[in-house]
């Protein structure tokens, strides 16, 4: 059976070239980078080279990159680490298109006396700039937005939100997790204080991430210990992980244009094929979207059923249906965009990687039509004309 993996947003393979660069830092250059002796110097050199590679991806300075254990930790550090300096500013602003780790962190901070508010979004899953400008004010401590919705792929008006946040004197955190390997981002171009980057989403090793902290940003650590990473992330460094993330960032930057164009071709073909199925519609913005994201809703059928039937046919995807979540809650992103519950239940997320081919896309669009037909034939909500 042909296997097609269209769930890049959930996990991607680590590039073989990356693994090759990591291996010597496990078996040969195993010293502790904090050691003064020569066995400490090799890993230290590798670590600092990698820091520069990650910094280069977003045109930052190496000292502005703090390595972490992944996007979740970066997000926690960005939000929790800066709030002690927020003084009278008590309002955290996020959006319903953010990743659940942003939402969960911000929600937890409500118990320590902070208010949580959501930026308005439109039917495409894009933050509404005009209506946001009145809400981000001098009581706002930090604004956290993704560069792109991880679910519907809509690219966000980061420049405008940056301007509004800066005018209000609020900090701005941007989550680059989904976009970093496929859409360029430049911290010298967009005024941002903090930015999260995830290693596995660059096809680097899992268990690694980074937080960009602009020079001069007041921030404190979540962990106490040996004071590594400028005191912001104590604990002996995961040098192989850093080297892997650095390699992945370097390769991502080198190939960005080619990756992006290749993905757009596949994505558009996929969207066209899927929306040819009657009663199916694209979720998210038609053009301002991640090159690798196709999110489509199929009326009269439910997502988990489609997901399982695709799985039985060798195809891996994700769904916004409540029935496939541990909490039985429908996707907050889709509901916030104004979709009805039953539309959210019938939404599927297809996310491509550089390893996918046109043959994969054709395979999926072909069997998708059959699966939707089969499920509709047993759906009481589907009235056959």
């Amino acid at each position: 059976m042909k296997r097609v993996y269209l769930d890049a947003a959930t996990s991607m393979p680590t590039m073989e070239a990356v693994v090759k660069e990591m291996l010597p830092y496990m078996t040969e250059n195993y010293g502790n980078p904090s050691s003064i002796h020569e066995m400490g110097r090799f890993p230290r050199d590798g670590m600092e080279r990698s820091r520069k590679e990650v910094a280069d991806l977003i045109s930052a300075k190496p000292e502005e990159i703090i390595f972490t254990s992944g996007a979740t930790e970066s997000i926690n550090l960005a939000l929790r680490g800066t709030l002690p300096f927020a003084k009278e500013r008590k309002k955290i602003m996020i959006s319903k298109i953010c990743h659940r780790s942003v939402r969960a962190t911000a929600t937890a901070l409500k118990t320590s006396g902070h208010d949580l508010e959501f930026l308005p979004i439109d039917k495409f899953g894009m933050i509404d700039v005009e209506r946001s400008s009145g809400i981000i004010d001098n009581g706002t401590s930090i604004v956290s937005i993704p560069f792109a919705s991880n679910e519907v792929g809509t690219l966000q008006p980061v420049r405008e939100i940056s301007r509004i946040s800066k005018d209000a004197g609020a900090l701005l955190h941007i989550d680059l997790t989904m976009s970093a390997f496929q859409v360029p981002f430049d911290v010298t171009d967009v005024d941002v204080d903090l930015a999260t980057i995830s290693s596995p989403d660059l096809m680097g090793p899992k268990g690694m991430g980074a937080l960009y902290v602009r020079n001069g940003t007041r921030i404190t650590s979540l962990l106490q210990g040996g004071g590594q990473e400028r005191g912001l992330r104590s604990g002996s460094e995961n040098v192989p992980g850093m080297v892997g993330m650095g390699a992945a960032a370097r390769i991502a930057k080198e190939r960005m244009e080619e990756t992006s164009q290749g993905l757009i071709d596949l994505r558009d073909h996929l969207i066209n094929g899927l929306t040819e199925i009657p009663h199916s519609n694209l979720n998210g913005h038609p053009t301002e979207r991640l090159p690798n994201n196709a999110n489509v809703r199929f009326e009269f059928v439910e997502g988990e059923s489609m997901l399982l039937m695709l799985d039985m046919n060798g195809v891996s995807i994700a769904t916004g249906s409540a029935c496939a979540q541990k909490t039985l809650e429908a996707s907050k992103t889709l509901l916030a965009m104004g979709l009805k519950h039953e539309e959210a239940h019938g939404s599927l997320m297809f996310t491509l990687g550089p390893y996918n081919t046109m043959s994969d896309v054709n395979h999926v669009t072909g069997i998708m039509a059959e699966i939707v037909d089969e499920l509709r034939s047993m759906s009481p909500t589907f009235n056959k004309e």
């Binding site: 319903k96 508010e117 009269f300 249906s321 916030a336 104004g338 009481p380 909500t381």
Partner: protein, 153 residues
Amino acid sequence: MVRLEYSKKVLEHFKNPRNVGEIEDADAVGTVGNPVCGDMMELSLKIKDDMIEDIKFRTFGCASAIATTSMLTEIVKGKTLKEAEDLTWDDVVEGLEGLPPIKVHCSLLAVDGLKKALYEYYRSKGIDRQDLKPNEEDDHDQGEEEKEVGPIV
């Protein structure tokens, strides 16, 4: 992630559901659930001499919703009305060799669908069997405590 929690029997019923469709000259039809909540089931019955001669279903929902309705039709086909009335969600779950705890509500809904069809059947005969009438309260909680500004659609 969810798939691993389903028994082979659930996946088998999902893949090859029994008794799909609707009986055109049905003696009773029971519809329960709501697509808003993610599950909706419709059961149609042909009844002869107090026996379920034929039963068909249509379901909108997840694999577990489809498998439970399929299993239920298999269990009660050919049974007497009395036997069908006594069916519990336990019987359906047992027939499916278990359901993930989070999916047990599907079996309750399927049994409700059957009871509702039987209620309608008796009612058409002038018998009011309130004991068979399922609670139809909508437990779909859309409460949202966070403050937010809604979308412009």
